[in-house]
């Protein structure tokens, strides 16, 4: 296949082979002997939009199913709103343009096979599979269609995809958050499915108040089932505040953190930590540098204006330290600042490794493993121990079991 590069020069590349592309990651896994420690990737992705042919039949509404199926033919219109963006950097990140060339075996879900390839290459034992295009589902103007697509996707994922993965792929299912009643129905319908560890809310939405009274029943239902709630961030160039940005780098750098800052603020200030103390909440894909920023901002204002947040019994940063965060994309630029961030958030117990593979800014396990300031316990916890405990994931060999026991993360899954 030819990729067009500089001023029309064509660069011939072979078809994509994830195992080959990640050969250096495999070397890292072998050199660091990852097999002895359980590694859980709490944020990996597949391109579910390439499977709408299988997903849409699960829609409940005959009318909407016909509407979307009709439009899908010959790509006459999109199913999930898309945003302007250049994740592949003009083809520089070659796995984007080459994705369709990768061969998989017939008879098994392609996305499971691809997941196994990157997990094996990186030395990852388990991955939490999240969608890609559907991270924009919150921008759909029709909440009925948002709901029905989420329903169809969640049925397809739990009935066709996850069962094929031998337990190595799990998920936190997409909630149609524009409709609290429907979100509750999703929790009740899918909450007990195998390989489901919780539910995910995409934060790419034009209007979302996580503290809205209408949502309390959803949180309560998730908490009662011993499941977790993840807020997954993303960029949105259409957001009014970002319309002044003229480069995707700006929208991307700010967007992920922006939505986490916004919704985490509302979550904390409205005392959600007091209302649902047993609900594990995780903030996904915002990087880490926003966390010490927000802790300091909220603590500062809380000291001056406690009358506006009477449910709080401790500082906002204390509630933030009760929650969980995914590592990627980790800003490894100033090691002292990163170490301070880890200290402020109690990373040893609150931080979970995430690759975000196959997206363009993925992180390998070595981004955690090689940090010079981490204790052995912190490395084990962040790379997989905390996730094993939180999501009740079993070790895959005796050494992993011994290490989970050693660091207090073993659960009889």
């Amino acid at each position: 296949m030819d990729l067009i590069a500089d001023r029309g020069r064509r660069v011939t590349v072979e078809e994509l082979n994830t195992t080959k592309l990640l050969a250096h990651a495999t070397e890292q896994a072998r050199d660091r002997n990852y097999k002895r420690m359980m590694i859980v990737d709490c944020d990996a992705h597949h391109y579910e939009q390439e499977n709408f042919g299988e997903i849409l039949p699960y829609m409940e509404s005959d009318v909407y199913r016909q509407l979307l199926n009709s439009g899908r033919a010959k790509s006459r219109h999109t199913i999930v709103p898309g945003g302007v963006g250049y994740q592949d950097m003009g083809g520089r990140v070659t796995r984007y343009p080459l994705r369709s060339t990768e061969k998989t075996e017939p008879g098994r879900q392609r996305d499971v096979q691809l997941g196994e390839r990157w997990m094996d290459a990186m030395g990852v034992d388990y991955s939490c599979l999240f969608p890609t295009g559907m991270l924009n589902i919150g921008l759909h103007p029709q909440k009925e269609i948002e709901t029905d697509i989420c329903w169809a996707y969640n049925r397809w994922l739990t009935e066709k995809v996850l069962p094929e993965a031998g337990g190595r792929l799990y998920s936190m299912l997409s909630l149609p958050f524009s409709d609290p009643d429907e979100s509750l129905r999703h929790v009740e319908r899918f909450g007990d499915c195998k390989h489901v560890t919780g539910f995910m809310v995409t934060t790419v939405r034009s209007n979302m108040a996580v503290h809205d009274n209408a949502l309390m029943k959803v949180y309560r239902a998730i908490e009662e089932r011993g499941l977790s709630l993840a807020f997954h961030s993303g960029p949105n160039w259409g957001e009014p505040v970002f319309k002044s940005c003229n480069r995707f780098i700006s929208v991307h750098a700010l967007g992920f953190s922006f939505y986490n800052i916004l919704h985490c603020t509302n979550w904390v200030i409205n005392g959600m930590g007091e209302r649902f103390p047993k609900l594990p909440v995780m903030w996904v894909e915002g990087g880490l540098s926003w966390i010490p920023f927000l802790m300091q901002r909220l603590d500062h204002e809380y000291m001056l204006r406690p009358s506006e947040c009477p449910l709080l019994k401790k500082k906002p940063s204390d509630y933030m330290r009760d929650m969980y965060y995914s590592t990627q994309p980790m800003e490894i630029q100033d090691m002292d600042a990163l170490q301070t961030t880890f200290r402020m958030m109690n990373a040893e117990t609150q931080l979970l490794y995430a690759s975000d593979y196959p997206h363009w800014d993925f992180d390998l396990p070595s981004t955690i493993y090689d940090l010079p300031f981490l204790t052995e316990k912190a490395k084990h916890n962040i790379l997989g121990g905390t996730a094993a405990r939180l999501f009740k994931l079993p070790p895959r060999n005796e050494e992993q079991k011994a290490n989970l026991i050693k660091f207090g993360n073993y659960t009889a899954a």
Binding site: A5, R9, Q28, G90, R92, V93, R95, W360, D363
Partner: protein, 121 residues
């Protein structure tokens, strides 16, 4: 001083690239504008195959005298190669990471003996 055979110079077309092994290490060899360049194939970011991605001209932004922008252009002179994992870009002629030129890939000498090309470590 170890030498590793790369290939025949007569078959190494301008703009081409080849990956060779030097013991445990991989080296990317490029031919660009008649010159050979060889660098470590391990990206300084996360260890990706730095030499196996696109070669693409450096992007520059031109300013007018009054400091207004004329927009983005491909350089007519500077060529980069890009790590396919995350997009780290390296200067073809120096191996420097163009985002931070203090970061530099290890460079290897390319030796031509007759029509045979070797990488030297």
């Amino acid at each position: 001083m170890a030498e590793q055979f790369v290939g025949k110079a007569s078959e190494f077309k301008d703009g081409a690239r080849q990956i060779v092994r030097m013991g445990k290490h991989e080296v990317g060899v490029f031919r660009h504008e008649g010159e050979y360049y060889a660098y470590s194939n391990y990206c300084l970011h996360q260890g990706g195959p730095a030499c196996e991605g696109l070669t693409i001209a450096r992007v520059v932004e031109k300013l007018r005298d009054d400091k207004t922008s004329m927009g983005l252009f491909f350089s007519e002179t500077d060529m980069n190669f890009v790590c396919p994992w995350h997009g780290y870009e390296y200067d073809m002629k120096t191996g420097e990471c163009i985002s931070d030129r203090k970061l530099k890939l290890r460079r290897y000498q390319v030796l031509q003996k007759g029509d045979d090309l070797y990488v030297v470590s």
